[in-house]
Symmetry: D2
Subunit: 291 residues, 4 copies
């Protein structure tokens, strides 16, 4: 397939690379154009402007936050004004439910096919095409994109026809992960203060009830006390929990645990942890325990 790809951060670069490897013709756009070179070396074509990425079978946006997506989509030279009538906009960024609703409405009004398809997985999973993709939109819009999705992820799960649903589910997933992070951080502080070795504890947890990738990945990070380089930086985690809480506010759903987790991530950042992985909830709990 022919596809435009907008947003070449760590995640986007890995995903675009996999599209190229799978044989798709990829036109790449990034605000800082120099980031496109590595992909061009692998066979991608440079899209000098956003509009140049909007003329193929699909255009994928994979950007850092709401502001970046708003700029790229609603700007004067943006996606919305330049999208070819049959080009599917595949929005894979982790954005707010409110913005996803705005995108869905704008594309519907303009008569453009729109699919939200955010992902679960960190850069290492993106590199191995092992992402889980959560897709929502009309089946006739998702179906033609499957070869693209299959090239980037190990599995695509559909969750309804309303695109914002996928974004809500994605945010809820990051909330679940952050909850496990905070729980593990408190538990590790507790057992460490009692003199238990955190590696033995981690081994025990993950070999009994607490198996599965979330416990295994994050338990290991906290046990090893290794928070840099950040696979997913604390400010990004904090942002996603904030977006989950914003959606909860709109839907009127009290989330006391989410509030705690948000507050703890705020503290990590306020105390200087901007560059740390969000698993740096671990040293926060340890520090608060006087460790």
């Amino acid at each position: 397939m022919k596809v435009g790809f907008i947003g070449l951060g760590r995640m986007g670069t890995a995903m675009a690379t996999n599209l190229i490897r799978a044989g798709h013709a990829v036109a790449v756009y990034n605000r800082t154009a120099s980031k496109a070179q590595a992909l061009i070396d692998q066979g991608a074509r440079l899209a000098p402007r956003v509009s140049d990425a909007c003329q193929d079978d699909a255009v994928i946006t994979m950007l850092a936050n709401d502001d970046a997506v708003e700029d790229v989509v609603f700007g004067l030279n943006g996606v919305l004004r330049n999208l070819n009538q049959h080009t599917v906009h595949l929005s894979m960024s982790t954005i707010s439910v409110a913005l996803s609703e705005k995108l869905a409405d704008a594309h519907a009004t303009a008569g453009h096919p729109f699919v939200a398809a955010p992902v679960f997985g960190r850069p290492d999973m993106a590199a191995k095409a092992k992402l889980f993709i959560i897709a929502a939109g009309e089946p006739e819009n998702i179906e033609p994109c499957m070869p693209l999705l299959n090239a980037m992820g190990q599995r695509t799960i559909r969750i309804g026809e309303s695109p914002p649903t996928a974004n809500l589910v994605k945010l809820s997933g990051n909330f679940l992960t952050a909850s496990v992070l905070e729980a593990l951080s408190e538990a590790m502080a507790l057992i460490r203060k009692a003199g238990v070795d955190p590696h033995e504890y981690f081994e025990l947890l993950t070999s009994t009830l607490f198996a599965g990738p979330v416990f295994t990945n994050y338990g290991g990070l906290i046990a090893n006390q290794q928070y840099q380089p950040a696979g997913f930086a604390a400010p990004l985690g904090e942002k996603d929990i904030r977006l989950a809480l914003a959606a909860a506010e709109t839907l009127r759903v009290p989330m006391p645990l989410a509030s705690v987790v948000h507050d703890r991530l705020q503290t990590v950042i306020a105390r200087g942890g901007d560059k740390l992985d969000w698993s740096a909830l671990g040293p926060l709990a340890a520090n608060d325990a006087g460790l």
Copy 2:
């Protein structure tokens, strides 16, 4: 081996049954003696008094809470005064760290071998000998008990030589589980209020990052909104989080998430949920969201 077994609730009965099946000679004691009958029918011997269960290679205590263990161990006709010098006391109940310390001290003073070996797993796992057993104590006391532990669990993990450590780890595990329960409850309330089907959501979670027994077991219970009969009743869960917080207080470890989870379990109970499974955090979150 020859072993006494004290405490024939749902967990204890299942565990004692597996000991018999594995060929061990089991003497069973229960305050309400009638509960012993099923085991006697399978080949157990009745221990009319606690002291009659304390004369063999080991005596296992598997009781509901601290009070029950205090009565059985420190009472006039209790374990401590009647333990044969070489009988290992294998304390498998989920009890407070403080009581485990008291038990360890008392046995050390009396010169009796003592091992703490609480378990992860609900009655269905106990019935299938699939428990995970967390053992702490001196190796020469644990080693001879391995045939017993192997008959009751799928795996025994040792965590140090100080028995109370095992109890702390066990409580920390229940805290981790309760945290996941509360997180899932809030997430499910959120997506349900957005119109997402909870079964589809559950399927999505467990087939992506949120695999592993905790998410699978409890996510299913909450998605199905089935809280009775209780595999583990809310008051038992609340008690364990309280004991984790009590240990945290002694060790001076702040646990904000544990405080929230404790508070939520309190609310389940105060609002009439004594008989419900602790996964009834699910309907609490739903109800608070106006669902």
Copy 3:
């Protein structure tokens, strides 16, 4: 003085009435013009359009929320485009710090004097000209407005020269009040469940350490279990705590207690309490305790 007054809700109507009583010439504007009649009967002049209220010594805006202020100020026929060069814009609404910054910047760019002067006090205090007014802005802008402020409040306290500071302080005050509300709600649930009469308890508190208007006003509401009609409705309270948390997020200040209070107000609303006073945290705590 001659003054325009925009926003004739319960607070605005009371405040404008006091301006008239003090002898000021008041031009009133409200989106729903019928609300202006009572004031016109007392001597106010009708301002048919926003611009008609922007030609005097000052224009006061007293609107319900950020959206209303944005419309009135930044709209095509709004305050910003129509403000007479020497007319002070006195922004008395409770709005976000972010919007206050935007207003301050826009007025500075346009060369208009701008003062933020939100108030502490409910409609009954407004009616009696007993408001406390928190003013921030340049002294030469505040000084000429003093006769107006004195007509509406019992005291005006200045807090710096940057207008958004006053809005932050106002929001922080509502957070303090809401914290006392939640604390009183929990305490009352506790002592009621122990059989203590809440009126006796209220009497005891307010006659000892817990004197002062916040405890006296809200303790009485909760003891009397009287939550309608709302002096300040739960959704307004929830909104203000949300704005305080938004400011805290921007400033990177973790506020765990604010998060709890926000969550509780959310629950009041989600469970159907839209019309109740924000002191309806009281029945929420009682209900969660099974009372």
Copy 4:
């Protein structure tokens, strides 16, 4: 009147001094006898043993915590075994509701008059006989003690006939105070990070809605950032919130805000603040905000 006084800490010494000044005959007992000298110099009689303080019209116990009260009351030479039949035991210590129930039961069984009369007020208020005393017990037991209570406090408020009620109310009061402390701490961190002077802010708060002793006393401590010497040390505050939560647990009353406040006090202590006043929640909030 003739009265025994047991417990000569900072509070007890001040209270006993006021009894002497009011003309009562006071026999003082303290575990560390040297602390009695200053009172003896003022006219008190030394009670060498607990029992020597139990023979007069009343015996007052004013001790640091549950353990101290248990020792003094239930010990071999304790109050319970040595109390003259008509001597009222006036229990003024801040203790758990559970212990107060145990004391009430034990005295009832022994046929001794028992009154619980904990106090609101710090040592400076005790010195000025300005305490507020919360009394619960049978009227015929309280009535004869009024001359004593009047000598120590500015006011005695009766709250029912069941002594533990007074202890519950006292603990609830400390919870209310701690809630205000935490709220003020978060608010001060917020406005400080926005560049507002905390003294101006304090002045503003206390001259508007946030008058009354709690805001005035504690707001000043936090604004001044003066946490030593401790008027009421963080570990004592933490203990009282813990006792409030323990009572809440028994009564099944969820108290989410109390849980947060407890957690914060725990953090103050774990991070080294044992010697600080409980208003050191202030620097904790500031520190967590990166100030």
